[in-house]
Symmetry: C2
Subunit: 238 residues, 2 copies
Amino acid sequence: MNLLLLRPEEIAPDGTARLTGRRLLHAREVLRASAGDELRAGVLGGPQGSAEVLALSTTELVLRATFSEPPPPRPGVSLLLAIPRPKALRKVLPAVASLGVDRLVLINANRVEKSYFDSRVMASIEELLLLGLEQARDTIPPEVIVRERFRPYVEDELDSMFPDPVRLLAHPAAAAQTPPAAGRAVLAIGPEGGWVPFEIALLEQHGFTPFTLGPRTLRVEVAVPYVLGAISRSRINP
Amino acid sequence: MNLLLLRPEEIAPDGTARLTGRRLLHAREVLRASAGDELRAGVLGGPQGSAEVLALSTTELVLRATFSEPPPPRPGVSLLLAIPRPKALRKVLPAVASLGVDRLVLINANRVEKSYFDSRVMASIEELLLLGLEQARDTIPPEVIVRERFRPYVEDELDSMFPDPVRLLAHPAAAAQTPPAAGRAVLAIGPEGGWVPFEIALLEQHGFTPFTLGPRTLRVEVAVPYVLGAISRSRINP
């Protein structure tokens, strides 16, 4: 936890906040904070800054926060991701939050098991995103959208959801290397078994340009940061 | 397992191999192979191709392999990595093998706990690398070098170990963005708490150029593929 995240409703009009639970425990046991210390803090969905520890007991952490800095710059990338197996999704959610992805669409695909949509991880999405924000000192979580039908989503919804961005399709067998990274982008990453030809054709019809980063088949939790690194290189420092 | 890896000594002069254990189990239960099937296979440290299933029982998998293809191209990158906590190292080892890293130096750093060098993961390095090779269909594992003293390694050994490559130092607070990715590179990635100033100064004295991919502090298992993606973009398709 490199940033203590507060929800707007936790902050009283005088700037103080009273925390219990995981954040109290972290302040006590990991940060070993005491009254007078300054902790790095931010407000979910808003600015960040520091928080002075006013009091810290076994039951409560009382802070007074001052938020004057913007969250870190974002690479301007959204992901259309074939929903991975639950164990991988549990790693991918904090990762995409820490990398500043704007929007994450978890989509069905032919080589995805339908049961993935019912996994217990799906009930922990927000919590897993917060872990990633705390790690990267960000306050803006990715918007997560879940769609259980691939074709209707691509045909009816995708254009209005992403009206302008460059559309890229990571595909090991593609002929082209990464296109230039300019403007906002939406990046499609398939399941570990790959998209099927129908899915690739439909994405291409909807403006996605296939590109390859080489023939290696990567685990999704490795592929996501690797591909984001490759396309984000010129995006990080605005 | 996208590639069945054989050790050279497992292959008889007539090209057959008899396997038990994990690979037998995988062929039976995941691939549901039977006699006559062709499996994708490779020889550790050598070429790859296919293997015909000659027989498959509950106790043995008998194959005849033909290896005629080279392993996939490599990005030409080595890592100097502050040894991560065991749980992260367990994820990083298969990841670096799957990404085709040439050499991984696990090094001590000020913000590393000395006990990490004694973790049980250190006894499983080879096994974890093989998982990554099987995933990415590669046959060449990274060479892993473990050094418990930072300064003597950098001062006395690093130059001869990496005589020519470009030396890069990933550091969130650096002023420069990623330098151009040309030639072989060795990339230093610090602990999650960062390198201390002495370590940065020593690496800079030894030719490492600091660069930043933005201010986000990433978990090492996210940072490694992300940074490799950023510097590897022009390296993957030779």
